[in-house]
Symmetry: C2
Subunit: 156 residues, 2 copies
């Protein structure tokens, strides 16, 4: 069983890779038991695709890996709180639990055009069974924004 903190460290490392590749400072890792199914970063600019957030990319990769549309019993670590698109995608994928580091407010402060809806509120209002845990390695996740800014990153 991979610990959430280990999984988040894989995501943070992938987030640094994203910044180095001129992409946005977000990354996401998905594991089932002791098997890592996906570690992906945001690729909106690279793919010319506004839906290519880290979580969406990781879900797609993990589902291809498993050959299934459901990621039951899977744990997700994502460097920033999922936006409503990604939180709803994680709900559709039936993941068990999601750990995040930085907050949507951090992404908004960095210039991203965030909807004003916390992931916890979407789950509560929407009556989802996905479990959410905030603030895992939050300082390290937030530090990705400064690194990205220093690298000349563009928000969208």
């Amino acid at each position: 069983m991979i610990e959430p903190q280990q999984l988040m460290r894989l995501a943070i490392e992938k987030g640094r890779e994203s910044i180095g590749a001129g992409q946005s400072p977000f990354a996401c890792a998905i594991a089932k038991g002791d098997r890592v199914l996906a570690v992906e970063h945001n690729a909106v600019w690279r793919n010319t695709d506004p839906t290519a957030h880290a979580e969406i990319n990781a879900i797609r990769h993990a589902c291809r890996t498993l050959g299934a549309i459901f990621l039951e019993d899977c744990t997700v670590a994502t460097t920033t709180e999922p936006c409503p698109m990604c939180m709803a995608a994680l709900h559709w994928a039936r993941v068990r639990e999601v750990y995040y580091g930085a907050a949507i407010a951090d992404a908004e402060a960095a210039g991203f055009n965030e909807l004003q809806l916390a992931a916890a509120d979407l789950l509560r209002i929407g009556k989802s069974g996905v479990k959410l845990h905030a603030g895992l390695l939050a300082d390290e996740c937030r530090a990705l924004f400064a690194e990205w800014k220093a690298h000349g990153g563009r928000p969208y």
Copy 2:
């Protein structure tokens, strides 16, 4: 300028194609002025990808067509009210307006594991500038569910 009703008819036709291909009864069309940029259907089963909803597929296609991550001044017609994943994706893509036919409740009644959050509520709570119009050709859009059921469709 393509009228929303014409655009919705393209989506409905694509929805029938989706059912015939063993996919889910959802389709979405996107236009900019008189140019149709994308007409796509849901491909969750075909692609083994829980994020491959009609709107996500259409956004990706339209962005590739334009070579841009923003779909400004674009009009969207989608056979069913966008789920929070798709409504947020349309917000990220900066589309101008979205017309839909059937409601999330219709999809839920058909067995889909919908989050309990109306598209209008997501936009309002989230403070999005996307304009939303409900009930365009709603009867024809709802009829897709019966056709899909008769075809042995599986919800997820």
